[in-house]
Point group: C2
Chain length 174, copies 2
């Protein structure tokens, strides 16, 4: 268990620092790029990560560990952030994400003290029964999927600019 928890925390604690180096100070043309209507900009992705810290990962873990009979997660609104942080600068968003993440890693360490807890289940509104271990793993991979999304959005701005190299750059094929 210690091994799983420490390698998960390694990634979780890095994400805000990676995003800070990646996005703070980047010009608006990069930060406001997207992949077409209904897709998110790098800046909007950070809003979604903030909401995950507030309403998703730790709140759901707390439900799992609550020792109540019905440990059903409330639905997580994946779009509320589009209004909520609309006016925030990228610095402000990343500072907020960083501070919530730090707090939540602290909570995670306090919540999980024995490996048996990793096997406790809650009920996901769509997927049904899920284990604490799967929730924590997903929190980690969710960071990575959004780092990949930001990277792909940035790359696609230069989809045409790369000329004949396009066929060789895997990121432009997704």
């Amino acid at each position: 268990m210690e091994f799983f928890m420490s390698e998960v925390i390694e990634v979780l604690e890095r994400t805000p620092r990676v995003l800070e180096q990646y996005l703070v100070g980047l010009s608006e043309d990069w930060l406001q790029a997207n992949e077409g209507e209904g897709t998110w900009t790098p800046s909007q992705v950070i809003g979604h990560l903030i909401d995950g810290e507030k309403y998703n990962w730790i709140p759901r873990l707390e439900i799992i560990l609550s020792e109540t009979d019905e440990r059903r997660f409330p639905v997580f609104d994946r779009f509320s952030h589009l209004q909520q942080y609309h006016e925030w600068s990228i610095e402000k968003k990343i500072r907020e994400f960083e501070s919530l993440r730090e707090e939540n890693i602290g909570k995670l360490k306090l919540l999980i003290t024995d490996k048996s807890q990793l096997e406790i289940t809650g009920v996901h509104p769509e997927y049904g029964e899920v284990r604490a271990r799967e929730l924590i793993s997903t929190w980690t991979v969710h960071d990575l999927t959004h780092i990949a999304q930001i990277t792909r959005v940035l790359a696609k701005r230069y989809d045409q600019a790369v000329g004949p190299w396009k066929g060789y750059l895997g990121i432009l094929k997704n």
Copy 2:
């Protein structure tokens, strides 16, 4: 031209800092993960980026701007790094990449002083005629494609660990 150059440099100068935050101090289980035989680990990707700084981007740009008749690029060995930096720690690799990148951004600024230079062509061994502008754009997207690759390799370690969330995490589908 100033606009193109400044936005390209914004990304190029961030990459080593992003990778430093991302990978330095990460445990070997993450750093030595790959996507199966013949694929690269996050650590090996940094070796490839080092080689790009040494043998690819700026040397090719220098050939384009050389005012000689035949501005043909030598072939770039995409695999030599697998032996060359095999024993290097991740810190050492990233420090080397960071230092070469800084030097190369300095060279880029000295080499391109007029927008007409961006339209000069060289001959790629595979793609034929390519413009300086396309080479510089590709340098940038090449960074992004490898940040995405590292991210995907890390995520895939938890391909099974996420349980029923797998279908919802785009990064696990590539």
